[in-house]
Amino acid sequence: MDRESDHKELQMKEEDSVAEILGNDIVEDIIMPSLGADMTEGMLVEWLVKPGDPVKRGDVIAVIETQKGAIDMEVYHTGVISEILHEPIVTLPVGTVMARVTLTEPGERAKVTPLDSVTVTPLDSISLTHVETSTPLASPVVRKMAMDQRLDLTEVKGSGPLGAILLRDLSGSNIDRTNAIEVDDAINTKKAMRGAIASAMSKSKNEIPHFYQSLDIELGNALQWLKRTNEDRAPDQHILLLALLLKAAAKALMKYPDLNGFYQNNQFVHAEEIHIGNVISLRQGGLVVPAIHNVDKLSVDETMEAIRDISVRGRSGHLRSSELTDATITITNMGERGTDTVFGVIYPPQVAIIGFGKVRETPQLVDGDLVNSEVMSVCLSADHRVIDGMLGAKFLNALSKQLQKPELL
């Protein structure tokens, strides 16, 4: 049927069919609207009215979710909501009666606009102009975070005055730099992640005067200790070398806190807590860098548990926004299948990244005898605006010292 030409006829038919006359009251159905030719159903997310509420034509009465995103649903009659027939959250076919409104204005019926004809064409243009022109209201700190981390705020529902997005609206939601831009499409996600990595790394290499130092750290004791400790442990109690490395790094940072913090507004701001970001490479490509919080306060077992937790959630995409934003230093770990050394790129505004190479066996001279020794090259990339070589050297040696007594970590 050609909608436009049959417009008038439809309007009359619809009015006859949907309006009931109960005594003197005229009741109209409120139906799931069609927001485009391809739409067959919509999800009722929230009612903004309840039975007994007066409404007038044009009021927003519900939020519905469609392929085009969340849409504010308007009412086309002036009256009082008399019945709510479906409770959120529920998916309903287009045309389903969702609620009823009792008309209050005499002659209201004559002005009734058929639902279909109003909603079909204009909605595309409405949602387009909405996207193009409106920047969501957001507090300064949220706007800064959005800019730094390339968050897309248009999908975030604000809880502040006038619907402004506040800090709390970000935490707890799944917004993060990896899935912020268009979540439903894997290719877009990958693109967005590449973009985020590209911008952070370019910024780092453009702005941060990196310098690099490397120390071969003897890991015999640490590996022996791990072997003894893990001997009888079930896989879920198993401790990986990385846990010791993290703990040792945290302890060395306590001694040399000038590597732990941020370079902001032309000065170094020391971070009170030690949140270590861990580079996790994703199977589909790209990486995430979730932080383990307060590593200095965790036991080795707790650190291991935290590593397990973030690596599982990191790969399944369930990281919390705080974990992706508050690392105070980063660690990149090549693991046993990686390379001997890794010279990391600092993640701004942090001032250092520690790169752990793979453990390798090397001959060493001890008292004139050749012995087998297990060694790892640890590389520190540091921001020379904040850190000097002597400090870096002290830090690496402190790290090495920590790893010689794994039982004390």
Binding site: R233, A234, D236, L240, R283, I307, R308, S311
Partner: protein
């Protein structure tokens, strides 16, 4: 457990970590970590998954007996007899 069952369980454990891997992608005589591109954390999670599914606890001492797909099948077959 029958060999067939063990293979199903192993694939399930592997796909939990690496969903894109199929049985025919794996050379059963080669190191599984290389075959499936698993790091040490992945391998640990694979062992945890196996423990969940079969109850068999594999400790570090036995790692060299389970490092290929084939060896793992034999190991589990023996342990679940």
């Amino acid at each position: 457990m029958k060999i067939q069952e063990i293979k199903v369980v192993l694939m399930k454990a592997i796909q939990e970590i690496a969903p894109e891997i199929e049985l025919e992608d794996i050379d059963v005589d080669e190191d599984l970590r290389d075959e499936c591109d698993l790091d040490s954390m992945d391998f640990l999670n694979y062992l945890i998954e196996i423990k969940k599914l079969t109850g068999v606890k594999i400790t570090e001492g036995d790692y060299q007996n389970v490092n290929t797909f084939k060896k793992m099948v034999a190991y589990l077959e023996q342990k679940t007899e």
